[in-house]
């Protein structure tokens, strides 16, 4: 039986899709059998970030409505064969997604994969609730910035009340992934420190992803950052986070971009 993980945040643009792709690819590279699912009906983007946008034939709604078999809708990654994608529908009405239908698809995926990673849409509406509904674990993606932290607090409240686990009285394992972190600005007290965010949200830390140009470079070409440049600072942070998801204990450090002699001479740039 695989684990179901939701990547969520409340606020948009904080890095849910980037993190879903990066963590999914990192787990798959470690030999795990992984499927990533896009729940953002009407605004799908996980296919684009994964570089599979031209291979989409069927989507989650087709499977839910019985128009396609699950095996027909799954897109296997061309770089890693243990990584698959179930895309969202771009054209259908999001009301076509029913909770019973989603439960059935997730149950089927649990049988086939070690990890079922659900990429939540932004907001606290139906789509976000459907994405978190079946989750055993949640990764709350947060930027060190007031509006993102506030929205994450709201989402944590929903994870504790609106998921199937919560309704049964079970706990859902939640952890915090701080993204776009700039250690130099945090040191200058211009940015919330990770400790501040942890104290406010009071959930365990999964990882700290430093702000980096590598993330945009990877999405430009349609590759998870952990595949495009595995040695870059954000990739190393995602690989560590993936290990922690598997239960390994890895010390949390903020990886820095390696700076050459020229970089040192002309001023250090963090991440």
């Amino acid at each position: 039986m695989g684990k179901v993980l939701v990547v969520t945040s409340g606020k948009g643009g904080v890095g849910k899709t980037t993190s879903t792709a990066a963590l999914g690819a990192a787990l798959a590279r470690g030999g795990e059998n992984v499927v990533v699912i896009d729940f953002d009906v009407g605004l799908r983007n996980l296919d684009l970030v994964m570089g599979a946008e031209r291979r989409v034939v069927f989507d989650l709604i087709n499977v839910v409505q019985g128009d396609a078999k699950l095996a027909q809708a799954l897109i296997r990654d061309k770089r890693i064969d243990t990584l698959s994608l179930l895309p969202a529908s771009q054209t259908r009405d999001k009301d076509a997604l029913t909770s019973e239908g989603v439960d059935k698809v997730i149950a089927e995926l649990r049988e086939k994969f070690d990890w079922v990673i659900c990429d939540s849409p932004a907001g606290i509406e139906r789509g976000a609730l459907l994405a978190m509904r079946n989750a055993d674990m949640a990764v709350v993606v947060t930027n060190p910035e007031v509006s993102s932290v506030r929205d994450s607090d709201r989402i944590i409240g929903m994870l504790d009340s609106k998921t199937l686990r919560a309704e049964k009285g079970d706990r859902i394992e939640k952890s915090l992934l701080v993204t776009r972190y700039d250690p130099a600005r945090a040191a200058r007290n211009e940015m919330l420190k990770v400790e501040d965010v942890l104290e406010i949200l009071s959930i365990p830390l999964l990882g700290i992803i430093p702000e980096s140009e590598e993330v945009l470079k990877a999405s430009n070409i349609g590759a998870p950052v952990t595949l495009n440049n595995p040695n870059s600072a954000p990739s190393r942070a995602y690989f560590d986070a993936a290990k922690r998801l598997k239960g390994e204990s890895v010390d949390v450090v903020v990886p820095l971009e390696r700076v050459g002699i020229i970089g040192r001479l002309f001023g250090r740039r963090v991440a």
Binding site: V149, R150, D153, R154, N189, M191, L192, D196
Partner: protein, 98 residues
């Protein structure tokens, strides 16, 4: 103020942290329940309107959410002829118990 403080720039992250702590303490207690202060505000205004004809625009309401307590400040401007303008309620002469 010593020389060190003089040259140190004002920092913003601690302000962000404090604002979030106050806000979230409030939001966590309120979400899922009805907003106590909003309910109080409505009911207090209803009681006042029962006895005095007040213009709603002459009522100033201020809310300040603090870390350990919040204050609801209601400032009612009572006109001189307020009692005369009051609508008869049938309970005239009975002291308000609210």
């Amino acid at each position: 103020m010593n020389l060190f403080e003089l040259f140190r720039k004002k920092t913003t992250a601690p302000v962000a942290r404090d604002r979030l702590q106050v806000l979230l303490a409030h939001e966590r207690s309120v979400i899922g329940k009805s907003d106590l202060l909003a309910t109080l505000q409505e009911e207090i205004l209803a009681v006042i309107a029962k006895h005095i004809a007040v213009d709603r625009e002459a009522v100033q309401i201020k809310l300040d959410r603090g870390a350990s307590f919040s204050t609801l400040e209601i400032d009612v401007e009572v006109p001189l002829n307020a009692a005369k303008l009051a609508r008869p309620t049938g309970e005239a002469g009975v002291p308000a118990s609210a």
